[in-house]
């Protein structure tokens, strides 16, 4: 069982959360010409690293906020969580 620290609510069980995928993917700017390659990258291509991974989680059975988590994809250890407007380095 993962124990995830929601930046708003504190430590909660994994059961309260939904996963949102890679948190480093950036949507191309609105109202701009976007090349096919950029769309391809944004929609489909994922690094899926072995080790530290920054990802989105949704506290769906809690405060319903989205936030970022830095987690190890081998050990499942969670290093940091941060609000969506904060940086994880």
């Amino acid at each position: 069982m993962l124990n995830i620290k929601c930046p708003y609510c504190g430590d909660r069980s994994q059961k309260e959360f939904a996963y949102g995928g890679d948190g480093t993917v950036v949507r191309p700017q609105l109202n701009q010409e976007v090349t096919d390659e950029k769309w391809d990258e944004f929609v489909y291509l994922r690094k899926s690293p072995r080790g530290k991974h920054i990802e989105l989680w949704h506290h769906i059975a809690g405060c319903r906020q989205w936030f970022r988590v830095q987690r190890d994809t081998v050990t499942h250890e969670i290093f940091k969580t941060a609000k969506i407007n904060e940086e994880i380095k």
Binding site: S13, Q14, Y19, G21, L45, R46, T73, V74, T75
Partner: protein, 418 residues
């Protein structure tokens, strides 16, 4: 190579079964091969076998980080089926069904292929309509599909919960009677033994550390047991595709996820086919030993751990008990996990790449086992002829950027979502 038969069994009984040949040798890597297959799982070994058998390319090596058959070929729930709606998936897997039917004879190794049928249960009128459509699509591709009503399902699985007041009553189901199961380890061993007998080097405990690429061409592969020169490399490392892609400076439409399965203690025969619960995430079959083999959802977050967490097992078995209440009285024998290439549309990739001599076989999501023979056959063709076969042209790498997705389940890019 020693042929396995009743006669060789009797003959070896006289020497207390101590003089059987090794099923495959344990060679040291040579400095150069015509082709190197990375990954000694089902797909890699099948590829090597068909390269040697169909294309007479025998100066090849299969290199494997651990031991052969230690990855997903030994971790799956052994289900073999071709009940797909889209033409590319259906034809590819139905081609594989024919290879499955003859596999034990062809490999001289009993893979215990048992066409015991699969039923996908439906729990609403809408789902029945969707299954009718899928069944018709299957039949157009020559695959057997039978739409069952509630009573017909009840005859086959009377122990399921058919009471009226359940949350997801059984409306009917879609059956593929020719689907089945096989002994998964034997598939890896059978392919390995035959490939070895035709001259393929199967090199275990040999981890890839890098690639030699120059001028857009593959020149060789660097491993923990030395550098190997080769002009052709086939990548069959589902679960670790992203790790090797990174060494090649490639980013792929794949995320790596964790899937668990479990078996109960063995019980007397109760279920003769494979059943999937159409409302939750649960499927079940009974092994020849009597264990109930069960699986369901991904754990749902990127992972390279070959072990999972308990909430997923609990979630899966909650669905299982809703469908088959008798399961609640069984003890769990073991659970395990494997890591999956989750492609962005749920279908695999078997293709050439922008690097000359580098061929890609990945993205099998949680359905790679049934495709072992068809994947090996088409991938061998792709490597040997340097062009895709018509059976795998739909599994191209550029289908994502071009918009020709094969999203069988219509889940979009988040195929791991539950």
């Amino acid at each position: 190579m020693q042929k396995y038969s009743i006669f060789s069994l009797i003959k070896n009984a006289f020497s207390n079964h101590e003089k059987w040949d090794l099923a495959w040798k344990d060679p040291n890597p040579k400095s150069e091969y015509d082709a190197v297959i990375i990954g000694g799982g089902g797909h890699g070994l099948a590829t090597a076998y068909y390269l040697a058998k169909e294309h007479k390319i025998t100066n090849i090596a299969v290199i494997e980080k651990g031991w052969i058959g230690g990855g997903n070929i030994g971790r799956n729930t052994t289900i073999i089926r071709s009940n797909f709606m889209y033409d590319d998936n259906a034809r590819f897997n139905e081609f594989g069904m024919n290879l499955w039917r003859n596999m034990s004879q062809e490999l001289n190794f009993n893979v215990m292929f048992s066409p015991r049928g699969i039923i996908n249960l439906a729990h609403s009128d809408a789902q029945m309509n969707a299954y009718a459509r899928r069944g018709n699509s299957m039949r157009l591709n020559g695959i057997d599909a039978v739409l069952l009503n509630r009573d017909e399902v009840k005859k086959i699985i009377p122990m399921a919960d058919f009471s009226e007041d359940v949350r997801y009553p059984i409306f009917g189901g879609l059956a593929q009677p020719s689907a089945g199961t096989a002994r998964h380890d034997a598939v890896a061993w059978g392919y390995a033994r035959q490939a070895d007998s035709m001259g393929v080097d199967i090199i275990q405990n040999c981890e890839v550390t890098g690639f030699d690429v120059s001028g857009g061409k593959i020149l060789g592969v660097r491993t923990s047991r030395g550098d190997i020169k080769t002009k052709k490399i086939g990548l069959c490392v589902a679960g670790s595709t992203n790790i090797l892609a990174e060494k090649l400076n490639m980013t792929l439409p794949i995320e790596t996820h964790l899937l668990q399965a479990c078996v109960s203690e063995p019980v007397k025969p109760v279920l003769d086919g494979v059943v999937t619960f159409g409302a939750g995430h649960f499927y079940i079959s009974q092994s020849d030993k009597g264990e109930m083999v069960m699986g369901g959802d991904l754990d749902g977050y990127n992972s390279y751990a070959q072990k999972g967490n308990l909430p997923t097992i609990q979630h899966v078995l909650t669905g299982g008990i809703a469908l088959f209440p008798f399961l609640s009285r069984l003890k769990m024998l073991r659970t395990w996990g494997g890591i999956m290439d989750m492609s962005m549309d749920g279908s695999p990739i078997i293709d050439k790449t922008h690097i000359e001599g580098l061929y890609l076989n990945c993205g099998w999501c949680y359905g790679g086992f049934k495709s072992v023979p068809s994947s090996g056959w088409t991938f061998a063709h792709t490597i040997a002829q340097d062009r895709v076969h018509e059976l795998n042209e739909g599994f191209s790498l550029d289908r994502f950027s071009k918009g020709y997705l094969l999203d069988e389940k219509g889940l979009g890019t988040k195929t791991w979502i539950s």
